[in-house]
């Protein structure tokens, strides 16, 4: 089998496109046939293992319908005993890597997900497809090449984002900034810092990271600060010229220096909850609109963005996709006895939101797994680029989790713990995610038992959150931003709300209408 690098060397660009991005030409019917056939393989693999028999029972479903009828929806609790103890014999296929993530609000601190050889192969293929798309302005024209300088701003193994370079290296060689083996020993901040220092010397062709980090670097440049980076020592003529040009622009023309003055990036690939909110800023600072990639530890790379800001397109061969309509998803959170029904990708409708349910293909462990992500169907196709697969957008985590810029996931437990840690006399609270200047913030509405000064409440809570959630701490450290907003409600506000409204207010992400009623209660 030819690798991507060999195909690039032989200039087989059409073949490359067909191999990695050919799925964009599929009709919805063809997409469904792929889903169906690969699900049958997964059922076959599951039927041979303990985990599969536990979830599917002894009789092997013979069709999609039977599978959806017989197999219950699952959550991580259904797998915890097998996966957290790494019981490989109980799995449909032998894992090569165990990928880790935090389990906020779960029964354990972490979640583990097994990745088999075939899954890594598919994950790599999906990642390369996303890179090709990130470096393309229209179908079949891409500028990705071997030995491109790749500023890789994501967490290394055992996190999912660290898996891609290991699969990709069998296909193509990139010059990672910093090199992967060096990056693995560095923390997030240091890794990004060294990466950008190297980029100043060598130049950069590709970027993969959190969109919020790119915005932060852009802002620093615009302010004239390079965050303590060492003096650049360009090691090629292009960078020498660009640095000289940037120097002239700043010193003599007195113009604001932006990253795009230094680097001509071929492609920017971004992940993270709030990428859509940062896109315009990134384009302004970096001169190239980022392409969004959507995935997760349990689900791998699920969808990728194409062209024309029309949304993301699902990969047909990574997961079997099912969707729970948002209202049923919400109901099932409060009514545990309610079992929501799912629909398939050929049944979703534009402008509707859904909770994603996946069954991993290629020997993965998760079956009818509720990921906890909400997506929105933007349209059923991307007409301008002849894509006949529904175009979606990742909206957020399900409402009981607040994800801030891809850095942290705040749950009820996180806030309760911070309140306890800070010793705040809180009567009741609700929290929601809001946007300020297109950037996400955490807004907590609090009613105190005793009077306290607003500033000290804010400071105590901010510090307690930093102490109890290290990821929250990273937001300020990395982005230099305070994401916390507090509104103190007068005493009795929540009681007043209860009298006024028949609905119980939810702790996390209550509706805007509920917030307004709560604030009205304050006024009365």
């Amino acid at each position: 089998m030819s690798t991507l690098q060999e195909m690039l060397r032989q200039e087989e660009y059409n073949k490359i496109w067909e191999k990695y991005c050919g799925f964009l030409d599929l009709s919805l019917n063809e997409f469904m046939l792929i889903q169906e056939r690969l699900l049958m393989e997964q059922i076959e693999l599951l039927s041979r293992c303990k985990l599969g028999r536990r979830l599917m029972g002894d009789s092997k479903p013979a069709s999609i319908e039977e599978f959806r009828e017989k197999v219950p929806l699952t959550t991580y609790e259904d797998y915890a005993d097998i996966l957290l103890n790494k019981v490989e014999d109980a799995l449909p296929s032998k894992p090569q890597y165990w990928i880790k993530t935090t389990w906020k609000g779960g029964t354990h601190e972490i979640k583990l997900a097994p990745y088999s050889e075939s899954m890594i192969e598919e994950h790599t293929k999906a990642f390369i497809a996303s890179l090709l798309l990130a470096t393309s302005k229209r179908p079949r024209e891409f500028s990705l090449r071997a030995y491109d300088k790749f500023l890789y701003g994501m967490a290394p193994l055992p996190y999912l984002t660290g898996l891609a370079p290991y699969g990709v290296r069998n296909e193509i060689e990139f010059e990672y900034l910093p090199p992967i083996d060096q990056a693995e020993g560095l923390d997030f901040e240091k890794r990004n810092k060294i990466g950008f220092e190297l980029a100043l010397n060598k130049g950069v062709d590709l970027f993969f990271g959190l969109s919020s980090v790119l915005v932060k670097i852009g802002e620093d440049f615009a302010r004239g600060s390079t965050g303590g980076m060492s003096t650049p020592r360009p090691d090629n003529l292009t960078m020498m010229y660009r640095l000289l040009r940037a120097f002239m622009k700043r010193k003599f023309k007195k113009q604001t220096l932006l990253p795009k003055d230094l680097w001509e990036i071929k492609g920017i690939l971004c992940a993270g909850t709030d990428t859509h909110a940062f896109k315009e800023k990134i384009e302004y600072y970096w001169g190239r609109r980022p392409k969004e990639i959507y995935g997760g530890t349990e689900i791998a790379t699920v969808a990728t963005e194409t062209w024309g800001d029309s949304g993301l397109t699902f990969f047909p061969d990574v997961n079997f996709l099912e969707f729970i309509p948002e209202k049923d998803s919400l109901r099932s959170q409060y009514d545990k006895s309610f079992i929501p029904k799912t629909i398939l990708i050929n049944e979703i409708r534009p402008k509707e939101r859904y909770e994603l349910v996946i069954t991993k293909f290629r020997g993965g462990a998760f079956v009818r797994y509720r990921v906890g992500d909400i997506i929105e169907c933007l349209s059923l196709h991307n007409k301008a680029y002849n894509i006949s697969i529904p175009q979606i957008r990742f909206v957020d985590r399900i409402s009981n989790i607040i994800d801030l810029a891809g850095f942290t996931r705040i749950t009820t437990a996180t806030i309760d713990q911070a309140v306890k840690l800070g010793g705040l006399p809180v009567e009741n609270w609700v929290a929601c995610k809001q946007y300020e200047d297109k950037e996400p913030i955490l807004h907590i509405y609090m009613e105190l038992k005793d009077e306290m000064c607003f500033d000290s409440v804010k400071d105590i809570l901010h510090e307690s959150l930093k102490e109890s959630d290290s990821d929250y701490k990273d937001i300020q450290m990395m982005l230099g931003k305070d994401p916390l907003r507090i509104t103190l409600l007068p005493k009795g506000s929540f009681n007043e709300y209860k009298k006024k409204s028949e609905n119980i207010i939810t702790k996390m992400n209550p509706s805007q209408q509920s917030i307004e009623v709560l604030l009205d209660s304050k006024c009365s």
Binding site: R9, Q10, E18, S118, G363
Partner: protein, 836 residues
């Protein structure tokens, strides 16, 4: 200089070679490697052209052509070095490369400033030159870059980034070039054009390498065109040389040139050359189209062989042999259609290693690809086309482990008969268009014959297979058995006869379709619980037969017991009401129990009947003295029977207690029915086992009522139609409960039919007359009698005489007339008394 001097001819031949190579490259698909190779060839063309023309004293001057030569000579090393970097995908030698180009640029300036060749001219056919100060620098520099190229390739090979096989010809070529360069440093040898000869060989080596390892795809048209051009060029060259030769001879003989004479000689030579041309054309055809000629021979031979073959095995062997001979792949696999919905591996090369069987269903992407009318499929297409996204990972892995490179369809008209999967060729080359054409023709020819052979095979299979169970049929079984005996295939073997218990009743109760399904299931169970070498057949109706090679006596008993248990556990573990079937098995051995078909089958049959007689669901091995006995010794037998009995009775009483817990009245009724039934059975002359059956059936016949709501059981008013339906279900429910207790299976027929009427209007199945098992007919009478003579929630008890009258009234309608009469007479004669 003389036109035929080697000093002129060598560069001329090199020049022609390079031009031909350039033509090939221009006619092929371009990529980075090919582009750099093209530049290298261009440099060599300049070198050889300069070298050739320089020695012919062609205007403007010798020194001019020498400087042209030097352009090629200077640019060649660095271009060649660059080419090797591209070929080996080396990126870290940019500085060396930049320095090389820069120095080449300086040397170019030196060349045109006369610092490399100070002067050069031809005088009296002798080439005279004076080297400039940079000539030796250029030579050393040139060698250095050749060494750099060499070291780089060696390093890539050492670090296993590139296989040696892929670059070996390039390395050999490089060694030759370096030797050529070193020879130039020795003045006595440097005057001969070794360097240009060795460089030409190098260029040819590279061309071969990049062609063989698929960097260069030469189109067939270009190849054919080039072959004819070469042939014409060679012939014209020889023709012109001949004319010039004749002219020279004439000049020497007669001292002057005569145009008329020369023309006459030319015509004469043309006449002589015609047969020579034909011979040459044939030779060239053989040389260039040997592959094609061979293929034609293969096709002819293959057609001869296959037209006389009807055996599918022989045919597939011949087909694979022909493919292996003609194409020489490492492995070849043949997948053929099996039935209507699947394709499976039929044959593979002897050295192939398949870990798992291949089985493709009709919706398989590879089959769909060919059904859409496509001709060939390469592994590269499978790996890169989104059409194959739905291919299972395990299927991809399998194709890779088979080393798949090419898949050729075997098509008969529009029908896909099968597939031929080929791995890489032994020589490592890619498949040529001719080979693909050959494969396509070969498979087209084979399709008709394969289809015929398959039809023949199917007909043969049909003739020896039982249509329902897909086991061997009776005729084939007899044939095999005769063969085993006549040919003494095995020293010993055993034959088992298997009969399904109560199958007639099963058919009557559930219908013949259910009966057929049960037989298929039993056949499956027998297949699974026997060895691969055992021969299984459906012997007739509900009878099966098995030949167990190489076992007898106790081993054969163990073999049939395994089958019996498998059937028992398969049916009893099912939740289906109607799956209560068991089998009785008898086994006899050759040569101990008989020497002919008939003898062995009779003995196995009598052992099977002994199993039936001793209560069904048994395994019995034939023994001569007392007809048939189980081979377990008496003590063991007694022990087993005791434990069975204990388990049996505990089961019955546990179940009876269940009824009691539900409704004490029902228990009393069950006991009465049991007692009456035993009396009637004894009077009717039942053997002990059957008496036991009716006794236990009487106790348990209403066990299913534990599933009937009490509101219905104790209802005083008449039951509504819906309630009556619920009540009727207690029979099936009884079976569902009892069938899970292996020891109680025997009572099922009695319980199942105790509400059936003699006129066929009963429930649950509406079985009629003698089709109702006699135990069921017994129960029916005594159950009705006890029900009439005891108080019920909805009415008072009838007197015994009224009840007996009622029995008589319904004799032959609801009840078996003979048994009714017997029961009445027992009562009237006082052999039965009423119960309290």
């Amino acid at each position: 200089m003389e036109p035929f001097s080697y000093l002129v001819l060598v560069p001329l031949i090199s020049f022609i070679c390079y031009c031909v190579l350039l033509a090939i490259i221009l006619g092929s698909r371009k990529n980075k490697v090919v582009r750099y190779y093209t530049v290298y060839i261009a440099a060599m063309i300049i070198w050889s052209l300069g070298s050739f023309v320089m020695k012919t004293n062609f205007p403007p001057s010798t020194i001019f052509w020498n400087r042209i030569l030097c352009i090629g000579l200077i640019s060649m090393p660095v271009i060649f070095y660059h080419f090797t970097l591209v070929l080996t995908d080396t990126k870290n030698q940019k500085i060396n490369l930049a320095v090389g180009y820069f120095l080449a640029f300086l040397l170019m300036i030196g060349n045109f400033s006369g610092l490399i060749m100070y002067e050069a001219y031809v005088e009296n056919n002798v080439f005279i030159y004076t080297l400039g100060p940079l000539a030796s620098v250029m030579a050393i520099w040139s060698l250095c870059y050749m060494f750099l190229a060499f070291i780089n390739i060696i390093q890539k090979v050492k670090t296993k980034k590139i296989p040696f096989s892929r670059v070996k010809f390039i390395l050999f070529g490089l060694v030759l070039v370096i030797i050529g360069g070193l020879l130039n440093l020795i003045p006595s040898l440097g005057k001969y054009p070794f360097d240009i000869v060795l460089n030409t060989i190098n260029a040819l080596f590279i061309a071969y390498s990049i062609y063989r390892y698929r960097f260069l795809e030469i189109h067939i048209i270009v190849k054919k065109g080039l072959s004819y051009s070469l042939y014409t060029l060679a012939l014209t060259g020889v023709y012109i040389a001949a004319i010039l030769g004749v002219q020279l001879i004439l000049l020497r003989i007669i001292g002057y040139n005569n145009t008329t004479l020369t023309l006459a000689m030319a015509v004469l030579l043309a006449l002589v050359f015609q047969p020579l041309k034909n011979t040459l054309q044939k030779g060239i055809d053989r040389l260039f189209y040997r592959e094609k000629l061979n293929h034609q021979v293969f096709l002819r031979d293959f057609s001869k062989i296959i037209n006389n073959v009807l055996d599918i095995n022989e045919l597939t062997d011949s087909l694979l042999e022909a493919v292996n001979k003609a194409i020489k792949p490492h492995n070849a696999y043949l997948i053929l259609r099996q039935g209507k919905e699947a394709y499976a591996i039929a044959k593979s090369s002897p050295n192939s290693q398949l870990e798992e069987d291949i089985k493709y269903s009709n919706n398989h992407p590879i089959l769909q690809w060919f059904n859409m009318g496509r001709q060939l499929l390469t592994m590269s297409e499978i790996e890169s086309s989104s059409f194959f996204t739905s291919l299972w990972s395990m299927e991809k892995k399998q194709l890779r482990s088979m080393g798949t490179e090419l898949i050729v369809p075997i098509k008969l008209r529009d029908q896909l008969v099968g597939l031929l999967i080929l791995s890489e060729k032994k020589g490592g080359e890619s498949y040529t268009q001719e080979e693909m054409d050959l494969l396509f023709t070969l498979m087209n020819n084979a399709a008709v014959v394969i289809e015929n052979a398959k039809l023949y095979e199917d007909a043969k299979y049909e003739a020896i297979t039982d249509g329902l169970t897909k086991l061997n049929n009776h005729r084939y079984f007899q044939e095999i058995l005769s063969k085993c005996i006549s040919e003494k295939t095995y020293d010993v073997f055993s034959v088992a006869m298997i009969d399904v218990d109560l199958f007639k009743l099963y058919n009557d109760l559930y219908g013949h379709s259910a009966g057929d399904r049960a037989l298929i299931k039993i056949a499956e169970v027998i297949k699974k619980s026997t060895r691969s070498e055992d021969i299984i057949a459906r012997y007739g109706g509900e009878e099966f037969a098995v030949i167990f090679p190489n076992i007898e006596g106790a081993a054969s008993l163990r073999a049939i017991e395994r089958i019996r248990r498998a059937v028992e556990s398969c049916f009893c573990s099912s939740k289906d009401v109607n799956e209560f079937l068991t089998i009785s098995v008898g086994v006899a051995s050759y040569p101990r129990d008989g020497l002919t078909n008939e003898e062995i089958l009779d003995k196995a049959d009598s052992a099977m009947y002994a199993a039936k007689r001793s209560g069904r669901n048994q395994s019995v091995v034939y023994a001569k003295k007392d007809n048939s006995i189980n081979l377990l010794n008496n003590k063991e037998m007694q022990k087993v029977q005791d434990s069975i009995k204990t388990a049996y009775f505990s089961a019955i009483y546990a179940l009876a207690a269940t009824i009691d817990a539900k409704d004490h009245y029902t228990y009393g009724h069950s006991e009465n029915v049991s007692n009456y039934a035993v009396a009637l059975a004894k009077a009717a002359g039942f053997d002990e086992e059957r008496i036991d059956i009716v006794k236990n059936a009487g106790l348990l016949h209403d066990i299913g009522k534990i599933g009937v709501p009490e509101s219905i059981l104790t209802k005083k008013e008449a039951l509504s139609p819906d309630e009556y339906e619920v009540m009727k279900r207690h029979v099936d429910m009884s079976i569902s409960i009892i069938k899970h207790v292996p020891n109680l299976i025997k009572v099922i027929p009695a319980i199942m039919t105790h509400h059936e009427r003699y006129d066929g209007k009963g429930y649950p199945r509406g079985v009629k007359g003698e089709n109702i098992p006699i135990e069921g007919r017994c129960l029916c009478i005594v159950d009705a009698f006890d029900a009439m003579t005891t108080d019920r929630p909805y009415r008072k008890a009838l007197s015994y005489s009224d009840a007996l009258m009622e029995l008589r009234k319904n004799s032959g309608i609801q009840f078996d007339p003979q048994l009714t009469e017997l029961f009445i007479s027992l009562f009237e004669e006082g052999n039965i008394t009423g119960v309290a």
